[in-house]
Amino acid sequence: MSISTPATNQTVTAQERSFVFKVFKSIRQFPMLYLGALIVLALIVCAVFAPEIAHYPYQKQFMDGLTQDGQPHPPNAQFIWGADEVGRDVYSRVIYGSRVSLTVGVFSTAISLLIGTVLGLISGYFGGFIDMVIMRLTDTVLAFPFLIFCMALVAILSPSEKNVLFAIGVLGWGTMARVVRGQVLAVKEFEYVQAARAIGASSWRIMFVALLPNIFGPVMVLAALNVGSNIILESGLSYLGIGVQQPVPSWGNMIAEGLQTYQFAPWMLWAPGIALVIAVLGFNLLADGLRDILDPRNVTR
Amino acid sequence: MSNVLEVNHLQIQFKIGERYHEAVQDVSFSIRQGETLGLVGESGCGKSVTSLSIMRLLAKGTKISGEVKYGDRDLLKLSESQMRKIRGNEIGMIFQEPMTSLNPVHRIGRQIVESLLLHRGLTGKRAADTAIEMLARVGIPRPEQIAQEYPHQLSGGMRQRVMIAIAMACNPGLLIADEPTTALDVTIQAQILDLMRNLASEHRTSILLITHDLGVVAEMCDRVAVMYAGKIVEQGTVRQIFHNPQHPYTKGLLNSIPKITGERKRLQPIEGNVPSLRNMPQGCRFAPRCPHALDKCRVSAPEFFEIEEEHKSQCWLHA
């Protein structure tokens, strides 16, 4: 780097160029991260601006959405991705469906993350009897047939988006707690943790100020993966009819409709399914990208 | 005396990011039959990389040029399958970390038998017996029993003995020992060095000993090459290097280590830090830390100057 002449303009352009260059280099280095982030961003835009992006309200039934013999209309200029069996616009419903997926995926993960991180930190840091109790509890939660249990819980609480979110979040922290505990056990061995004790820092301070930032990376990778799998889980529950209820669209209940009609209206299967795959892929790419960044072998590159 | 190994103008480049960086630059040395050559230097000086390149064990994508002559063959020109016949057979190698250098899921006996199988075609009872014999030769008590055990059941010293048994199983002409005692305690280090010395003299095996410990060098080696930042800066017999060091780096090293005998006086450290691969200084690589550096040193890299027979040093001060 050379700072010589007072030609300030030149330095700015050089800096700009170096910034653009850096971004470009970083995209080349971590393509998955950027692709994933792009998809997730698109998903957020869809969810937030659904009324603007969708062509029609999701619950609106069109007379011309059905053919003369009462079957769903295939894609045309009016219904770009076709209509469903009661004449609603599939495209609009898919756009609105992103709201459910994103909300359930993100917030259920947030709940799991909170429970899992706190339990994992306590378990790993204190060890001994507390560790034993928390880990047996985790084993128990992990041994449960997660899907059946979610179904049962949602059935008890009555099916709704909020309850699905809650059930998935409250039951899904097992892996998170195990991973956090494993990370804590590894990081705890580092001498900087001993050094923090030597200066007299409290356990609370050590756990949240010294340890937590150091395990944050792997936990975020897991969280991103978890959002993806929770989106699938929600769609699975809705697919089985124990999730988001009609007429509110969820990609899962749209596919369930498709199950009845796929032999003569396959587009009802394609549109929500592909949306679902892309959304999940976005979070999986994000997770893989984060992992690449965090991999110390990539730092030097 | 004939040379077992001759390394000429060895150059090794690693790819970091988009660019290649020179880890080893123009390194030449030779080892005679039955002789022990010490390659000393601090971490990152390229001594381990040099030893791995002789065995061609560096990761793919590393550029190596120059010549590594073993007998009359240039190892860098051999095919991979020809090279495999050399590894473990004509050149044996032991490493720094005995704890991780043995396969955790295989029994000790099997790990020795593998060398015998690959190079001698020995199988079954004959191979097993030879393996046990090897274990006995490297001073392992109850060899029949140990052969049936797994690495994690042995201590660090024992594991290093097993590594030596593996390396020596096929009676190689050259043993490369890369920091063989660094991970061990002093009393165990003494045992291992003793063992290496005895085995080598018994079989007239040459040794390339890579280490950072000047004490180990003085004790084990006939000749020494001192490496700094990817280059050999001084080479000579062990007496020449220790009694009449010429290069400022060698002198600095010898002055900076605390001694176990003699007067206790303030140490004279070499100031500064070892340069990293990415920003190697221009000219002589030691110049930024050298107390005697001249202007010339910062511009152009010095050649070797012959001090006396066998003894040469790469420094402009001799000019």
Partner: protein, 306 residues
């Protein structure tokens, strides 16, 4: 080694206890009154009260739990409210179908995942690795029920090579197994690949090279067994996911197994059946975990002699 297994067995017992308590609490939390369900909509209060007494529902909760556990130890999971049949019998009649399906899915996962894992590890950072890895990432993102429908549409409806659902022999097993296998294999593949690459960087692989071992020997004799250790761990987690995730496959392929039984029971608040299936699945998961612990002992000598 024996002590290790016995200790794992002990942990298993604790987990089983936890499972029974949690299930019981869950069921207790269900707001619908089983007595009312059995009695029907128009039953008198007296009838309901009598049914409640007969079911033991008027006793204190801990006593109910003890009664429940007592019956459990005699293999008695109660009687289904809907089918009016012992739950044990209902479960047994469906268990075979689910085990068959789960086994099919698991084998498909391993048959696809393990070889691809080794393949991509050996071709790391080459075009073929990038292609397979990208496909794996997509496969991982596929919801099984949707993939199932798509496969059924193409290979059952458009090209009627396989039956459109139902469990009737080997051909009907292929599509569901493949569906689950494709999505699940991606995880096995990625796990084995990264673990393989990590093992290949270990010092003992360098030792094997220094001995003169060839690439094939290094992969098969030295690396694979070490690389499989984390894969085994995942295997035990996967069995759990599989046993409950199989519901989606069963629902899609109209496969009349345990999953469908549980699904219908949940919709009809058939409490004894829900409890029975949840318990059985959990117990199976725990037993599989125990089994993997034992497999561990044979793969990793460091545990065997601990």
């Amino acid at each position: 080694m024996l002590s290790f297994i016995i200790r794992r067995l002990g942990a298993t017992v604790i987990v089983l206890f936890g499972i029974s308590v949690l299930t019981f609490i869950l069921i207790y939390a269900i707001p619908s009154d089983p007595a009312r369900i059995i009695a029907g909509q128009h039953a008198s209060l007296a009838t309901i009260k009598e049914i409640r007494h007969n079911l033991g529902l008027d006793k204190p909760v801990p006593i109910q739990y003890i009664d429940y556990m007592g019956r459990l130890f005699h293999g008695n999971l109660g009687t289904s409210f809907i089918y009016n049949e012992p739950v044990t019998q209902l479960i047994m009649s469906r268990l075979g179908a689910t085990v068959e399906l789960a086994l099919g899915c698991w084998i498909a996962e391993l048959l696809i995942g393990i070889p691809l894992g080794i393949f991509t590890a050996r071709r790391a950072r080459k075009p073929s690795d990038y292609v397979v890895s990208a496909l794996a990432l997509i496969a991982m993102s596929l919801p099984v029920f949707w993939l199932g429908l798509i496969l059924m549409y193409y290979f059952g409806f458009i090209h009627p090579w396989f039956p459109l659902g139902g469990n009737s022999g080997f051909t009907s097993l292929i599509l569901p197994s493949l569906t689950y296998g494709v999505t699940g294999a991606a995880v096995y593949m990625r796990l084995l690949k990264s673990s393989m690459l990590e093992v290949m960087n270990q010092d003992y692989i360098r030792t094997a090279r220094a001995k003169g071992a060839g690439e094939n020997r290094i992969i098969w004799r030295h690396a694979l067994r070490n690389a499989l250790i984390p894969v085994i761990t995942y295997g035990s987690i996967d069995i759990g996911t599989l046993l409950s995730g199989v519901i989606l496959i069963e629902a899609t392929f109209n496969w009349n197994g345990l999953g469908m039984l549980a699904y219908q029971a949940i919709q009809q608040s058939d409490i004894p059946v829900i409890m029975g299936t949840v318990l059985l699945t959990a117990v199976l998961v725990v037993l599989f975990n125990l089994l993997t612990d034992i497999v561990y002992v044979f793969v990793d000598p460091r545990i065997r002699y601990d």
